[in-house]
């Protein structure tokens, strides 16, 4: 991280923009109206203020295929790459009329036949056809997802850097794990260690929770007891890219018994099957099948998600079996893959690793130590 707000490196910007324009062409999209920050960052390379949670849709970035230009809502040029000139910036506005007037005035907008958006609201769904009567409004998310799901070499490096920050911060949080500390304290220690490394934006904010609470080891309410297992599921957003991992640690020797050891061995078994399913060219359904093969139920959350600018497809979850069957793993995808065994009663062991899919097989990017039975 630098001492001033910097645009993403030229190599990163150009490699991404090339992929975005290729998908615009393949999907016959003339103009992109982007509201989602990660999409805007992908094509613009401009870091803007991070906020947590979803944001209402509003076009804040415009890409015109005919001119090759990127236009951006930004009141200042700090952090804006030099290939987006001042005349392509538009100040923050609260007035839809001003926003639409800006869009209308953009070079190439009037000729656009197909305009793609990455989401919509009922209001914009009504407004856009009136403002651009000769254009067809299409969903651009499939095109953007197709571009973003395969990482360029520069993006893989950015994800590696982000993972390093997350792993260092997790190590600091782990050093504070002892009976009596609260889940929130562990989250706070993680956040502090993240920021000391120059990264001030988390990917997730729960960070740590007690995955098993044993009555005889119970501490204060909300505090870790001597016989508890604590799951860490932590991530950071560095330079826009998410690095994350998951580990489970016993709070102390009192948490370790035969059942605990068995849980960890089962988690290792699920994990090795999941890793085996991360082969390029295979269906994402193989990841769901890995749980079945190991004889463990699928957890109630995604077992694999793409890592990139925030989130990328695929998303592999028991609620979306058809989607998993249709999605293929391809070289250049980076996934966060989660092994999770156990549940209430015995407790749960969670293990999440970042995996780069390559033609020569999966490469595990995360290196943080595990507790070993």
């Amino acid at each position: 991280m630098a001492t001033e707000v910097l645009a993403d490196d030229r190599g990163l910007r150009e490699s991404r923009r090339q992929r975005a324009f290729a998908e615009m062409e393949a999907n016959d999209i003339d103009v992109l109206l982007l509201g989602r920050e990660a999409n805007a960052r992908y094509v613009s390379g401009a870091p803007r203020l991070w906020t947590a949670g979803t944001r209402p849709f509003g076009p804040g970035c415009v890409v015109v295929r005919a001119t090759g230009a990127v236009h951006l809502v930004s009141t200042w040029d700090e952090g804006i790459p030099d290939d987006i000139p001042h005349e392509h910036l538009f100040g923050i506005t609260w007035n839809p009329g001003n926003l639409l007037a800006w869009l209308r005035g953009i070079d190439g907008m009037a000729e656009a036949r197909r305009i793609g958006t990455d989401s919509l609201t009922p209001r914009f769904a009504q407004l856009f056809p009136k403002v651009f009567p000769s254009a067809e409004l299409v969903d651009a998310e499939p095109a953007l997802q197709a571009a973003r799901r395969i990482k360029t070499p520069e993006e893989v490096e950015a994800i590696r850097a982000s993972i390093t920050v997350a792993e260092t911060a997790l190590a600091v949080a782990l050093s504070e794990l002892r009976p009596g500390v609260s889940e929130r304290h562990l989250a706070g220690v993680f956040m502090e260690a993240m920021a000391r490394q120059g990264v001030t934006t988390p990917a997730t904010q729960r960070v740590a929770w007690i995955s098993r609470r044993r009555p005889h080891g119970r501490g204060e309410a909300g505090a870790v007891g001597a016989a508890d297992l604590v799951a860490f599921d932590a991530g950071v957003v560095a330079g826009g890219y998410t690095g994350e991992l998951g580990r489970t640690w016993p709070a102390g020797p009192a948490a370790v018994d035969a059942a605990t050891r068995a849980l960890y061995r089962q988690a290792d078994d699920v994990w090795s099957r999941l890793l085996g399913a991360c082969e390029a060219g295979t269906s994402c359904h193989g990841l769901l099948a890995a749980y079945e093969a190991a004889g463990h139920p699928l957890p109630p959350f995604p077992i694999a998600t793409g890592l990139g600018l925030g989130f990328d497809v695929p998303l592999v979850d028991r609620h979306l079996p058809l989607t998993a069957g249709q999605d293929r793993l391809l070289p250049g995808m980076v996934l966060a893959v989660t092994a999770h065994v156990g549940g209430e009663g015995p407790g749960a062991v969670l293990r999440k690793e970042a995996v780069l899919v390559t033609a020569a097989g999966p490469e595990v990017l995360t290196t943080s130590p595990h507790w070993r039975p």
């Binding site: 803007r48 203020l49 991070w50 209402p56 009141t75 009922p122 769904a125 998303l315 609620h319 979306l320």
Partner: protein
């Protein structure tokens, strides 16, 4: 809902879901939050909303939803998820229902026939936005706690100010303290912006005015730096907002003290006209009059905004929506406002702070309780 003839609301926006269900969860990066998000369905004939959540076990700490109203996740960003949701919706609200939504991802548009058999959906923002304006006593309680956590967490940050300290170190101190004090999450990358003495020394802007907020970096603070601070956290689904001007390693000069006094005069002038029934335009007029006609707030933002489940929500006062819009914003008792006037004194930077208040029938009650140090007496 009745006023708009809507039988069901489908809410996808995090803050709308939190508002409708009382559920809270640690907010995630927006990219992930778009996909892994709780969804609420509010129907006209059921007092309780339905919550579909990907956060098992975290569903309802702040709400009292019945168990049969809390369900597993629906992934509306995926065609498979949107279709499955069509089936769920048909059971909850059968027939050609009139529905309002707050967002329409492509997958929901492709499942239009299934999801919206009663025709194009209306905007849920109108329904929820109107309801959010007035805070209940419970909501005010959560907001007070969120603000207290923020103020207690920012105090050690101010104590850590010194030449050589990096902006990110201030963030580190703040986040650590905020979580230890019970915050559920950080809602924006905290701002510790070093203001240039003159506008001409700052970044180019579209309007020729102040560039703010600029993102935090590893920049080291230097003695005499003027810092504009802006941050907030979430607690039980509610957002806080905090803004102050600090100085690094020095006391204010007489000129800087004068900036603060001018700022205080503007704030007091605005507060003097703030009460239920006053319009947003009454507030902007008072601010302009106290500042000799120069606009004493950032032209790309506002003089003031609401605060609740969102860190900036209606009413917005002093935006580029214009005077006529501000005239239509009539303050109600129970509305929470963040007032953020500023004084720019080209050559010596300026002063900006934020004050959170709740509007009452005959005035207002302060919710911010943090000193102006090192400014003031």
């Amino acid at each position: 809902m009745d006023e708009q003839g809507v039988e069901a609301l489908i809410l996808l926006g995090n803050s709308n879901v939190a508002y409708a269900t009382g559920a809270s969860w640690p907010l995630e990066d927006p990219g992930r939050a778009n996909v892994k998000r709780p969804v609420a369905v509010v129907t006209a004939d059921d007092e309780q909303p339905h919550l579909f959540t990907p956060f098992p076990g975290l569903a309802t700490p702040g709400s009292c939803l019945a168990e049969d109203h809390v369900h597993g996740p629906v992934y509306l960003e995926f065609d498979e998820g949107a279709k499955a949701f069509g089936g769920i919706l048909a059971e909850l609200v059968p027939g050609e229902r009139k529905v309002a939504v707050d967002e329409l991802p492509g997958s929901m548009r492709r499942a239009h026939e299934l999801l919206f058999p009663g025709g194009a959906p209306a905007s849920a923002d109108d329904v929820v936005g109107a309801a959010k304006l007035v805070k209940t006593p419970d909501e005010l309680g959560f907001l007070r706690t969120a603000l207290q956590i923020t103020e207690q967490a920012i105090a050690p940050v101010q104590a850590a100010l010194a030449p050589g300290v990096r902006q990110v170190d201030l963030t580190a101190v703040f986040l650590r303290a905020a979580f230890d004090l019970g915050a559920d999450g950080n809602i924006l990358d905290p701002i510790f912006q070093v203001m240039p003495a003159r506008l001409a020394d700052g970044p180019w802007t579209t309007h020729g005015d102040i560039a703010c907020p600029l993102v935090t970096t590893e920049r080291q603070l230097a003695r005499g730096d003027v810092l504009w601070v802006d941050t907030g956290i979430s607690y039980a689904g509610f957002a806080s907002d905090f803004g102050r001007t600090w100085l690094v390693g020095t006391e204010p000069t007489p000129r800087q003290q004068a900036q603060f006094r001018s700022w205080k005069e503007i704030l007091d002038a605005v507060l003097a006209v703030t009460r239920a029934g006053a319009t947003g335009a009454d507030l902007t007029r008072a601010a302009l009059a106290a500042c000799g006609g120069r606009t004493p707030w950032m032209p790309h933002f506002y003089l003031g905004h609401g605060l609740g489940v969102d860190s900036a929500e209606s009413p917005f006062i002093g935006t580029d929506l214009g005077d006529a819009y501000d005239e239509r914003q009539v303050l109600a008792a129970g509305t929470v406002l963040v007032l953020e006037p500023l004084v720019w004194d080209d050559g010596a930077a300026g002063y900006r702070s934020e004050e959170v208040i709740v509007v009452t029938d005959d005035g207002w009650i302060p919710l911010t309780d943090y000193p102006y140090d090192p400014y003031g007496d």
